[in-house]
């Protein structure tokens, strides 16, 4: 039977939730699942891939893979696809996934679909539902003339069950061939945030103009900390320099689809809605009852953010203790 190869990613030694989603989905297809684990840091967590559904793990403990390099990684992934004879390759729409897999597809003549929100696999038939035009319509992507199909899924779209610690997998160490490199990673400048990236966060709390000034993000951070959420922002406040661009949600920022999105003081310009309308549950807190954000919201609170948000933080604290 044809195999599924899952490109896995780790953060601080833990298999990312987005990779867990992919492995568990792949296992449910009934096909043998090969997890690809690259780098000495990631290799320490190789057993986790088995606990989430991999029957085999391809691993390279070479420290050269500890920093992402497109040329190095695309050669390794192409070789792993060939060695595993996988016909379906799954990865996450992460910074690495989006950069890497299209290059791999070009290298080996595979089809690639990015930003998937639903996937169905039936035998060799793979269909991927994805939003187009910032979620204004949906389409089903089908493969043709592609002996290898590569799918990049958005995070938080597939269910995750707890790891099954009784499971193990065949671990195969591979010394992947390295091309001569024209790309050198000189330095990695760590961001200040230790939290999950916006695109992978399960809960996002975003602030906008309604916070009046940069200091307004203090209470947004407090709320986010209680919820274990990542903080986002509207374009207006990024352009005003209140927060960095890496926090921007929307058209020229990040597309997010968390389980819960809380928009505070964000009116809901179409450019912002474009980046968050795929969220499962949207809470809007705004003083203007006519703000467009309420048209996308599941729950709305018309009121003063400075009164509501601290109360919400207190009440969440109590609610989450039970």
């Amino acid at each position: 039977m044809s195999k599924v190869l899952v490109f896995t990613e780790f953060q601080n030694g833990s298999l990312k939730r987005s990779s867990q989603e992919l492995l568990q989905f792949a296992a449910k297809t009934g096909k043998p699942v090969v997890a690809l684990v690259l780098g000495a840091q990631a290799a320490a967590g190789a057993a986790q891939a088995a606990q989430h559904g991999a029957s085999e793990v391809f691993v390279s403990k070479d420290t050269a893979y500890d920093a992402y390099n497109p040329e190095l990684f695309s050669a390794a992934v192409a070789e792993a696809i060939q060695k595993s004879a996988a016909t379906l390759v799954l990865a996450s729409t992460s910074a690495t996934g989006k950069d890497l897999l299209p290059r791999v597809a070009a290298k080996i003549g595979a089809g690639v679909v990015s930003d998937g929100t639903e996937i169905t696999v039936s035998g060799e038939d793979v269909k991927v539902k994805k939003p187009l035009y910032s979620g204004k319509c949906f389409v089903t992507a089908q493969f043709e003339n592609a002996s290898v199909k590569i799918v990049l899924m958005r995070a938080n779209q597939l269910p995750v069950a707890a790891a099954d610690t009784t499971k193990s997998a065949t671990i195969t160490e591979i010394a992947f061939a390295k091309p001569s490199l024209k790309t050198l990673i000189k330095e990695i400048i760590k961001g200040t945030s230790e939290k999950l990236d916006l695109t992978e966060a399960n809960i996002v709390v975003s602030g906008g103009r309604g916070l009046k000034e940069a200091g307004g993000f203090g209470m947004i951070n407090d709320l986010a900390n209680v919820l274990g959420a990542t903080v986002g922002a509207s374009r207006a406040v990024v352009d005003s320099g209140w927060v960095g661009h890496s926090m921007q949600v929307g058209q020229t920022g990040k597309t997010v689809a968390p389980s819960l999105y809380i928009a505070v003081g964000i009116s809901g310009a179409i450019q912002h809605l474009a980046g968050m309308s795929g969220s499962k549950v949207i809470v809007a807190i705004n003083s203007d009852a006519n703000a467009p954000i309420f048209q996308k919201a599941t729950y709305g609170i018309v009121g003063d953010a400075f009164e509501i948000v601290p109360k919400l933080t207190e009440e969440f604290k109590k609610a989450l203790q039970h």
Binding site: P102, A110, K182, K186, A297, Y299
Partner: protein
């Protein structure tokens, strides 16, 4: 020394999207087409490079039905690009074939010293074509770049990665980079620029003449549909305390997201 900028024409963000009755695509009627916003940063960076490097020439290139797609090229020319090429290709060509066509057209012009593109196109959100072009041209690439510097041999960039981190990456030229917001402030087209762009002869390359087989089309989009109607918002009423406690119950018991 040729600098290529890959551009895509996309529906303006404000455009209302309607689906054709047979679900085979979007209704082209009433769509306002613009240059993909991220491509503006790419064009700007290419022009800035030319301003510092005598002998550099900026070529904007796109793939698409030429009748409309040339307008995006004219926007690039109006900003200050020197030359423009359209690869006249059918609607809904997939990323693989599009990249192959762009790479073939760039090669036919003698290749590129640098290639710029936007980090993604806002219509498909694929972020695939530029990396594929780099592979087909056999040159290194770095995507999502917010700082760019180049010498004759080297390109040094800052790439924005997850969680606000940045990677400093050095590549040997020729190389391809994709632009993120923050790379620069794209200039507005000047009136003389717009007039000149209108008169400029745009080079046309037929996709069908590039020797790319129909089997190089690997992904097909079918069954276009509108998102399901969102139920109306539930406005929570009462004073702040009442609103907050209603919200917490709703999130816990109804939406079950806590």
């Amino acid at each position: 020394m040729k600098i290529f900028v890959c551009i895509k024409q996309v529906p303006d963000t404000e455009t209302k999207i309607k689906i054709l009755s047979d679900q085979s695509g979007i209704d082209p009627a009433g769509i306002k087409w613009v240059m993909n916003p991220y491509d503006e940063y790419a064009v700007e960076e290419a022009i800035k490079f030319r301003e510092k490097n005598a002998g550099a020439q900026v070529w904007v290139i796109t793939s698409g039905p030429k009748a409309r797609a040339v307008e995006a090229l004219r926007t690039g020319l109006a900003m200050g690009a020197d030359e423009a090429i359209v690869v006249n290709s059918p609607e809904n060509l997939d990323a693989y074939s599009t990249a192959k066509g762009l790479a073939a057209a760039i090669k036919a012009e003698g290749g590129a010293h640098l290639v710029f593109a936007g980090k993604l196109a806002i219509d498909s959100n694929q972020s695939s074509v530029p990396q594929m072009v780099a592979e087909f041209l056999e040159i290194p690439h770095t995507s999502v770049v917010s700082k760019f510097e180049a010498t004759a041999e080297n390109v040094t960039v800052e790439r924005d990665v997850d969680g606000g981190s940045k990677e400093v990456v050095q590549m040997l030229a020729p190389a391809l980079v994709t632009a993120n917001k923050g790379l620069n402030m794209p200039r507005y087209a000047s009136l003389p620029g717009i007039m000149k762009a209108k008169k400029k002869v745009i080079k046309e390359v037929e996709f069908s003449s590039l020797g790319i087989a129909a089997t190089e089309q690997k992904v097909k989009y079918v069954g276009y549909s509108l998102p399901p109607e969102k139920p109306a918002v539930k406005q929570l009423t009462g004073d702040a305390s009442a609103q907050v406690s209603q919200l917490i119950s709703a999130l816990r018991d109804e939406a079950k997201v806590l």
